[in-house]
Amino acid sequence: MHAAVLPATERGFALEKLTNQIKPETFVYRCKYTKGYEARFVSHLDMVRIYSRAARRAKIPVFYSMGFNPHPSFVFGQPLSVGVTSECEYVDIELERLIPADFLLEEMNKVLPNGIRINECTKLEPGTPNIMKAVNGGVYEITVAGELNYSALKDTYDSGRPLVVMKKSKSGITQMDVRPLIYAFDICEKEDNIFTVYLETQAGNVLNLKPEAAFEAIMQYTYAENIEFQYVKINKKGILYENRS
């Protein structure tokens, strides 16, 4: 039959041999990496693909999950919004073989695209909870341009009043007080009408607040009408862990 397209393969290796096997011993490495300016528009899903391809270029022996649709074993931290840069992204990489952590870092950095760079790599002890489970919040520095009154914004936050916003969810639009999800807020004027905002917000699987949403909630309770402003830059500076005091 001419021009017949038969199924494209998913993973072309000998699955039959694998499917009945017990999972072999694997080794998990935690990498802390920067997502810089050049990579700011890389989405979370793109990042998974970028790491898996980089590992193949670097010949890193990544462990592939068993079963009918094997996939490389990467666990990424909380997704970043597109356009946001970060100095503290995390990925746990599971390997088939033990290799020196420095080697993993160096070989990956040779092949990762501009803007993505691993800064630290450590081998985890077996049983360490994965990165998604350990994280509780994010620290952000935002540069905002607009005619804003920074002390009024600060007052709104310091007053301790509830910050109830409309939230879209599966069950429709609901109201939600985001104040408990904001751990810290500060703002100062860098130059004329350019402000630097410092924010700590909750991150996690259950409750998650994007820094833009936090800032916009504070804006909403400071100004009666919409004020025009632009995000010049949003940079994640650090993460907060579960066990912080």
């Binding site: 199924p7 391809r53 193949r56 270029r57 501009n114």
Partner: protein, 603 residues
């Protein structure tokens, strides 16, 4: 590289990663440029969005080929999607190149890859967004030369007023000759017009402004001297965001041994030449090493026609498997051997099986020279069902020359037969519901095919035939069809002359772009443009051309003789099939290149 477009705009558009460059293996020659070592700034342009252009092997290959030149920095340019274009125009941004993030209006050369006629309005839109005059005659010293290649470029005429020159046929060697010529001209300080005279002398190059229709000048398409060893980059660019086809593509052969009489690709890419297994495996290894892709796909017009397909697949699998890389085998003929192979490479998902009988009766399949019989079809479908497939897609064309209602009803009957075979195979057993679909497209007469003289059905006739088929297909079969508008425009443009160029200009002026995207295409806008120019689409599409009347593309020689196409056309009406190139040489004329299967040198 600092982005040319502000972040606040980039954040407001869909998929901003399309617009900032910085991909793995992209070429940054900004330091060479700063040192004054770059003589030629060039752009490979694709008249569609990033996601489509970056899926195109030829486009990426030629990008790397030009960047091998020390005197050249070749960058990439794609059409911004409508949301981005609106923002760019609103804020005064010009069309720019991804690598340097600088506007292209001062570049030396811009080459467009013409893959389909419906992208022509995008070309005008891109030039306009770049601030470059659309018409070749209006461009002056200091502005880029705009040229084009690719399959649709073979009819040079519809876009002849816009392009400075065309390069016809395979570009691997010709592009370097063009760039050498440009470097020489740039050193000479001669006027703009002199470059056009110089480049016109390169075989395969056609400068429309130097020739008028049927002045006796013939341009012959180029074929690379050695396909086996033709340039292929060791390091291929890898997009950061998801694009349509994102994998290693191995071009296993060029040309096609089948001479389906409607198929332009089957004629323009002749002669048939294969790459050896050794060369392909070494290419695959280089590609995997430099890209990290998780899939290798074989690229050709018909995978099964590669001479040593099974040894090739075995060797590739042994390279791929240890790296967790999968192998994709598109356009495979269905038989025992190929099903075994498919089972071996994909133990995972039984995705659909696609068959393209193209016509519903044996008579019409003989007319179009689709070398497939009813028994072969039945056998293939039975085999697939016995091997666990339940999803079969059947592709057909409506409006083929000599088609009668009986042929159309034959499509429904064939669908029914496939359904019956499924029930037969699973008789007495519990089976999944079969998912059988029939998709029909509309025949488009294309230049350089035996059907280039044929009439396309009228709009109403196409609709009538679609309804006839829709009403005769078993409801258990899913029926897919397209509105005829795009096919009519394709026929009119692909057989178009310079007058069609005026229509394209008019319709662009009225806002047409992304006409290959059905949600963006506006047929009445096109009809208005035809009317304004004073011609009808029907005069180009619906008319049956005479064998002895001059055709707009007569000055382009693809190696296949016109007389051969006439003979093939007559054989179609006599319902006589032509054996494939491997069985018996049909003497189409392309042996004049002295290459490939024609002269017994497959590699």
């Amino acid at each position: 590289m600092k982005s040319y477009i502000s972040d606040s705009i980039l954040k407001s558009v869909t998929k901003p990663a399309r617009y900032v460059g910085g991909e793995v293996n992209s070429i940054d020659k900004s330091s060479e440029l700063a040192c004054g070592n770059i003589k030629i700034r060039a752009a490979m342009c694709f008249a569609d969005i990033y996601d489509i252009g970056m899926s195109h092997l030829g486009f990426k290959m030629l990008y790397h080929l030009l960047n091998e030149r020390e005197d050249t920095w070749c960058e990439r340019v794609f059409a911004p999607w409508t949301d981005m274009e609106a923002k760019m125009r609103e804020h005064g941004y010009k069309l720019y190149a991804l690598e340097s993030q600088t506007p292209v209006d001062t570049f030396d050369l811009m080459g467009f890859s013409l893959q389909y006629e419906m992208s022509y309005t995008n070309i005008l839109n891109m030039l306009d967004l770049a601030g470059i005059p659309l018409f070749s005659k209006d461009r002056v010293e200091g502005q880029p030369f705009i040229f084009a290649g690719g399959p649709s470029a073979n009819n040079t005429e519809p876009m002849a007023d816009f392009f400075d020159f065309y390069n016809l046929g395979e570009g691997e060697e010709m592009l370097n000759e063009i760039f050498d010529c440009y470097a020489q001209w740039k050193d000479s300080n001669l006027p703009r017009q002199d470059f056009l005279k110089m480049v016109d002398k390169i075989p395969g190059v056609y400068v429309p402004s130097l020739h008028s229709a049927n002045d006796g000048f013939i341009v012959k398409k180029r074929v690379v001297s050695d396909f086996e060893n033709a340039y292929f980059p060791k390091k291929m660019i890898v997009p950061l965001c998801e694009v349509v086809h994102d994998r290693v593509s191995l071009e296993i052969f060029r040309g096609c041994i089948r001479g389906c009489r409607f198929c332009q690709a089957g004629f323009i890419y002749r002669p048939v030449r294969e790459r050896s297994i050794d060369r392909l495996v070494s290419m695959a290894k280089d590609q995997l090493e430099s890209t990290g892709y998780e899939e290798v796909s074989l690229l050709s017009l018909s995978t099964s026609d590669y001479t040593n397909l099974f040894p090739l697949a075995d060797t590739l699998l042994s390279t791929c498997e240890p790296q967790h890389v999968s192998l994709a085998l598109p356009s495979l003929r269905v038989d025992n051997m190929s099903l075994d192979l498919v089972k071996r490479v994909s133990r995972v998902r039984k995705s659909g099986l696609t068959l393209a009988p193209e016509a519903g009766t044996q008579r019409l399949r003989d007319v179009i020279n689709k070398g497939v019989t009813e028994e072969e079809l039945e056998k293939a479908v039975r085999l697939a069902f016995e091997n666990g497939w339940n999803n079969v897609k059947l592709y057909f064309m409506l409006g083929l020359p000599t088609e009668t209602d009986e042929d159309i009803l034959g499509i429904a009957a064939l669908g029914q037969k496939v359904l019956n075979i499924y029930e037969e195979v699973h008789r007495g057993r519990k089976a999944r519901r079969p998912e059988i679909s029939i998709s029909v497209s509309t025949f488009v007469p294309k230049p350089f095919t035996p059907f280039q003289w044929e009439a396309q059905d009228s709009y109403d006739e196409i609709i009538r035939k679609q309804n006839l088929l829709k009403n005769s297909i078993n409801r258990k079969i899913k029926f897919n069809w397209h509105d005829p508008e795009t096919s009519i425009l394709e026929a009119a443009i692909s057989r178009g002359d310079r007058t069609i160029g005026k229509v394209i200009y008019e319709v662009w002026k009225n806002g047409a772009k992304f006409d290959s995207w059905s949600e963006e295409m506006n047929y009445s806008r096109w009809m208005d443009a035809f009317e304004k120019v004073g011609v009808t689409a029907g005069a180009y599409a619906e008319r049956k051309y005479e064998f002895d009347e001059p055709l707009a593309w007569d000055h382009v020689d693809i190696g296949v003789r016109k007389q051969f196409l006439i003979e093939e056309n007559k054989k179609a009406y006599a319902e006589i099939i032509t054996p494939n190139c491997r069985e018996k040489c049909a003497r189409c004329g392309v042996a004049c290149y002295g290459k490939g299967l024609c002269v017994g040198k497959i590699n």
